[in-house]
Symmetry: C2
Subunit: 197 residues, 2 copies
Amino acid sequence: MTSNSCGTSRIAGCQFTLFPMSDKFADIILGALDEVDTSKVWKDTDDVSTCVRGKMVHVFDVTQALFLHAAKTGEHVAMSGTFSIGCPGDTEADSYMDETDTPLNEEKSSQISREAGCKFSLYPMGRTDYMDAIYEQIDLSKHRNIKVSSAHYATRLDGDVKDIFQALHQSFDRVQEKVSHVTMTFTISANSPSNKT
Amino acid sequence: MTSNSCGTSRIAGCQFTLFPMSDKFADIILGALDEVDTSKVWKDTDDVSTCVRGKMVHVFDVTQALFLHAAKTGEHVAMSGTFSIGCPGDTEADSYMDETDTPLNEEKSSQISREAGCKFSLYPMGRTDYMDAIYEQIDLSKHRNIKVSSAHYATRLDGDVKDIFQALHQSFDRVQEKVSHVTMTFTISANSPSNKT
């Protein structure tokens, strides 16, 4: 069913940007980076975005932790990005696949509770029946500890940041088990003043 | 070649968020919205993102204008989003397809010059040969008035905001001529302090 033209490695990655809507944006980003252990992922940052790559568990662990540590400042922060796995062009940094599976930031992250809203979209690539894979997964996400609603081109999740990232992780993981190359876009937002009105 | 399970309308859309990295983020967003004529697109906004839908020309005209008017404040601003066309579930707001093709914000936008960096990725859906469509298009974008480089999971464009949006528009348009359902993610950033160091 899948094209299987992808590399043998199941290296995952996320290209994302953290957006603190604050004059202190640089301090908030650097502060979050300082709190998060990124040693189990390959990482590259420029002025537009950050890319982390490695085992799926660590890619989600690091992106979640960065968002949580920025959100706990109480400032309005958002993060947008794209998770990817099985990209045919993607072979660099395979050495990070030798890391153990223990997430490095789970304990610290578990101590932070913060409500957020998130929109995400799953894109199973290289399949003519890709809509079935999307609909099947969107249906599954209804069972989790979060509010699920539909938006144009996206599914909306509301709840605790950790529950949202868990749903993103599970959705992505389930689709990539069936489809070799999958991408998933997301935008998550916390402490928005327009959410309080 | 394409699945052709899509609706008959070629309504395009963009789900995006404008991120001013400033304490004045609300004023900057509202100020940009005030400058931009969105009457030729369907529009819906919540605390996570904004969705505009209609003819492709107007979807690009409005998103570019919103970013330009926010960027001209001189504050560090970014925008992330996903353009989409031919989504099988997408039939609402078809009435906006009757609008004329003249973009409403072109004249005002042409008066704003601002350098930016942008990363984008094209996702032709429902095709087993989707990578060919991507590579073909990435090659074409080299001919435009912008600096093109490659990043993980994305292509990077540097130059004037209007040239960047023109390249995004042309790339998206060219792929959707061949592939029924196409999505394109982008993150564009202007006035970044880390770009000046």
